[in-house]
């Protein structure tokens, strides 16, 4: 009996060793891919961190270098769309950088403090592309009174922000393919979201009605924003040297632009990812109820 067991064990061991030596490459390749996807997720999380610390430190000139040089790269900001890495540079260096005097570094008084969280990162099966959704609260405090390089007069606010990002592989690392942001709510720091829209404050017109958010729409039909307002970039490049190449409507982007528009007009930035359990792609239409 013992001899039989020993022989069986020997045979089993021999079989296992033989199986190991001749393991189908496809199996190992599949495991390499699965482990590779986990590493990709970490690399993309890391890239977002690099981006976010540069944003906190207002190193705006460095942000375009996180974008791919491939065709089809786009930056979506406030419903303006900027094409290519050059378009990203137009936005970050030309617009954001200029607003702080073009110094590409932290300056006295300005605060951008982002708390990026809740990332859902999805890598394509071939590991050549990826997508991610992040959110952040954002506390921009553009001014300590009388000290801003750009002479801004805003005070501290809270913002609520959704990112929907596309990535493309760049050798062993990743770069942005689409950078898409929706700042969907904004409020005075210290006062809270519920007090806005408040006619007459923070750029909200004194005569704001139920559809007042539409005055902040960047869609092509709505080119009436006054120069110097948050949406002054609604004139296209190259007529506006820091303008977008095109615009998209709130319905296309899922992002309405009135400050704290969620109080009057809800929106949902589309989810890139399938439901984790059912596998179905989920859409949510903005509620038509409310004010």
């Amino acid at each position: 009996m013992i001899r039989c067991l020993a022989l069986a064990a020997l045979a089993l061991g021999g079989t296992t060793a033989a199986a190991r030596d001749s393991a189908p490459t496809a199996e190992v390749e599949a495991l390499v891919t699965r482990a590779g996807v986990l590493n990709d997720i970490y690399d993309i999380e890391r890239l977002h961190g690099v981006y976010a610390y540069q944003q906190d430190n207002r190193l705006f000139d460095y942000q375009p270098y996180l974008f791919s040089e491939d065709e089809g790269v786009e930056t979506h900001f406030m419903n303006g769309v900027y094409r290519g890495r050059e378009g990203a540079a137009r936005l970050w260096t030309g617009r954001f950088g200029a607003a702080q005097g073009g110094v590409n570094m932290p300056t006295f008084g300005y605060l951008i403090d982002k708390h990026d969280a809740q990332g859902i990162i999805t890598v394509s099966p071939d590991r050549k592309t990826a997508k991610a959704r992040f959110r952040t609260s954002r506390d921009p405090a553009p001014v300590y009174p009388g000290t801003s390089l750009a002479g801004e007069t805003l005070i501290g606010v809270d913002q609520s922000v959704i990112y929907e990002m596309d990535y493309v592989r760049n050798g062993d690392d990743w770069r942005f393919k689409t950078w898409r942001i929706c700042i969907y709510a904004q409020a005075y720091y210290g006062a809270g979201y519920a007090v806005l829209p408040k006619p007459g404050v923070m750029g909200i017109p004194a005569d704001l009605g139920p559809d007042g958010w539409k005055k902040y729409d960047l869609s092509p039909e709505k080119l009436t924003a006054t120069e110097g307002s948050v949406n002054a970039a609604n004139t296209y490049y190259p007529q506006n040297p820091v303008g977008p190449d095109r615009t998209e409507t709130p319905e296309q982007s899922g992002c309405y632009l009135a400050r704290n528009q969620v109080m009057s007009k809800p929106a949902v930035v589309p989810f890139h990812f399938a439901h984790p359990v059912t596998g179905a792609f989920v859409t949510q239409l903005p509620s038509q109820e409310g004010k």
Binding site: L38, N39, V50, Y62, A89, L111, I155
Partner: protein, 247 residues
Amino acid sequence: MMLRVYSIMTVAAIALAPAPFVMARPTEGLQDERAMLEALVTRAEDYEAIKRVSYAFGYYRDELMVDEMLGLFTGGASVDYANGKYVGKGSLRRLFESDRFRPSEAVGATALPPNILNDHIMMRPVITIEADGRTAKARLKDWNMLGVHGKWQVESSGIYEFSYAKIEGAWKITKLAYCTRYSHPYLTSLRDVPLPERAPAEPKFYPSDRNGPDRQTDFACPPWPHPSMAPPLHYPNPGTGELIHRP
């Protein structure tokens, strides 16, 4: 193209900056798929372990769990904090138990009293593992809600630069540099926050100050509204390869 990164200031900064801590590619040079698999799995495990150590530090800090915090550090570890440098576990304990590192109302407590909020939300890791898989660095930030019921409430945020070593399979902290970015009474308009000193006075050192640091910190940490990127980034911009340094 409007890319204009290499200003004179930037070039000067490159000359002064230390060599960047470059991200290693675990499968570089590997042909054998099993070796590649092991390298990828090890890197994933290392990444999670480093994140876990860093996040655990925040949870233990919230709850005043000093022994557990000390267990995350190597014996000779150093912490740069609040204008001082603390070296070795005895000094780290002195810091962690003092009112420099916890609300003064919690000094002497071994568990968080019920009337105190001491939340440090650790977030946004940029983790860089060295090629040999034995050392690593990470940048994190925290966002903090601190207060004593009926007395005071503060919102603050700061930046961590951790160094780690993998010792007998476990990642431990060898160095920590922390800079408070801002700190102000909760719900106070930032416009009304009094201007803090750009550089705090040089501290008294231990033992003349029984809670003091061993020596001066290596890191200046000017708080907002003063401009600062401190502590310095340990990694280069992935696109330019440049280690970005600003005063």
